[in-house]
Symmetry: C2
């Protein structure tokens, strides 16, 4: 592991590498993944100068937009548009140049494959586009993504109840213990006894997108005020020696394998 | 389900809804997820006019860039930069305005949580930014993402061997049967008996990014030539009634639950 600067002749050379004390501190905080840590800032590309200009947004307004956008672009793009759509109007660039609608593919855990739910995937994208990647010097986007994943996993979802909901009967709430679409949607479908194509399942997912967007804006507003503190306690690489969710027994049962570990020094 | 046009007063109204026969055909092909299908094209935002200009790239060159970029920005952003970096030079906008480095957070299955591997996540992003979301009328980006996920799951990884690799000994190859980082990395670590922080694991993941970028460019080049045909056979919502990967028994054992299904009509 190191702070090695790496330049080559394939397009990377035009990037200016800036490593400062902020980057060092941030890297120390997130170095447990075990990759090389660098710090990059693009030259001549406004979208890669961080942080992007951000004005505080109203969480409930944002959540309502996400709820309504779900029915047009589904979970991931709904969360992205709920924040970037407002910032396109209030700030302008670089939000106007971001192709938010392209992220429809985040639906159903990426084109229906049930991997990460599009709502946290979209929220992670928003936080890291605004604040920048940890290698650029501020790890707050990385930490907000961790917080979003843990919030999503631990909350009784959906948290947010929209105005003028399409489903007016009460929706059952479930806790996924995982950011995976398959598990989150599957546990809800089982508890609600509703199929994937039902209006209730769709409205549940629209409200999950809204709930995630609400929490995302709370965290971004705190960051804007200089008051954001990372809360996530799940550090799988450090604690388990492998990238992982926290619900090990749900797949492995009692027989949780031990990954190969580095020799003690 | 329907092609209902939905407009509201929260930023969606400035988008022009265009529904054509192409959109209808594409929607029919991918409608099995069960969401509402619309078709949107942004007005006044060049990044949301699809398809983006694309020139055919060399797969091996792209893979080599992805391999080298992994050591700077890790799997997801490496795949994105391997394609968009070349197109920034060969085409210009909208690639120059895309904040590719922000996607470092895709590392480790999103900030180390072991959900979708950043390599397919980055490839899915590239295909859908270039071709556009299925709701804009061309579902090829959606289908390329499905193909990438299935390729990633079924290939003995890593497929691609870079020039001047950091690890000069042969790396063992494993098949993940899943696009999840935790499973893909975990199976490789077990077979190789190498820890997460080892140089071999890092180089394996750099080569997986390269292998995914290679396949992505093969598919994009075919699409550019008008010869792309979707090959993915995994249709979980249609086949199983839930968003899912294909390795059901790996988590569920023989006791695979049946999700609530819609009543037969």
């Amino acid at each position: 592991m190191g702070m090695d600067e790496k330049m080559d002749d394939k397009g990377v050379s035009r990037r200016q590498m800036i490593v400062g004390t902020g980057a060092l501190a941030a890297s120390a905080a997130v170095a447990h993944f075990g990759g090389l840590i660098g710090s990059a800032q693009a030259v001549g590309c406004t979208s890669e100068k961080w942080p992007w200009p951000y004005v505080k947004l109203d969480p409930a307004t944002t959540a309502q937009i996400a709820y309504e956008e779900w029915y047009r672009v589904f979970c991931g793009a709904a969360v992205i548009n709920s924040v970037f759509g407002q910032l396109r109007e209030k700030v302008g660039e670089p939000y106007q140049s971001f192709p938010a609608d392209a992220f429809v593919f985040l639906e159903g855990g990426q084109v229906g494959w049930g991997t990460i739910c599009g709502s946290p995937a979209g929220a992670n994208l928003v936080a890291n586009c605004i604040i920048g990647p940890r290698i650029a010097g501020d790890a707050a986007g990385h930490h907000i993504a961790e917080d979003i994943m843990q919030f999503y996993s631990e909350a009784a979802m959906p948290v947010f109840t929209p105005k003028n909901p399409k489903i007016t009967t009460e929706l059952i709430k479930t806790t996924s213990n995982s950011p995976l679409c398959h598990i989150s949607v599957g546990k809800w479908m089982k508890a609600a006894n509703k199929p994937i194509g039902s209006p209730e399942r769709k409205d549940r997912c629209a409200r999950v997108a809204a709930s995630t967007a609400y929490h995302l804006v709370v965290l971004l507003n705190a960051w804007k005020d200089g008051k954001y503190e990372a809360k996530s306690t799940h550090a799988p690489v450090k604690d388990f020696g492998i990238t992982a969710q926290m619900n090990c027994m749900e797949c492995h049962g009692a027989d949780i394998p031990t990954p190969p570990m580095a020799a003690k020094k």
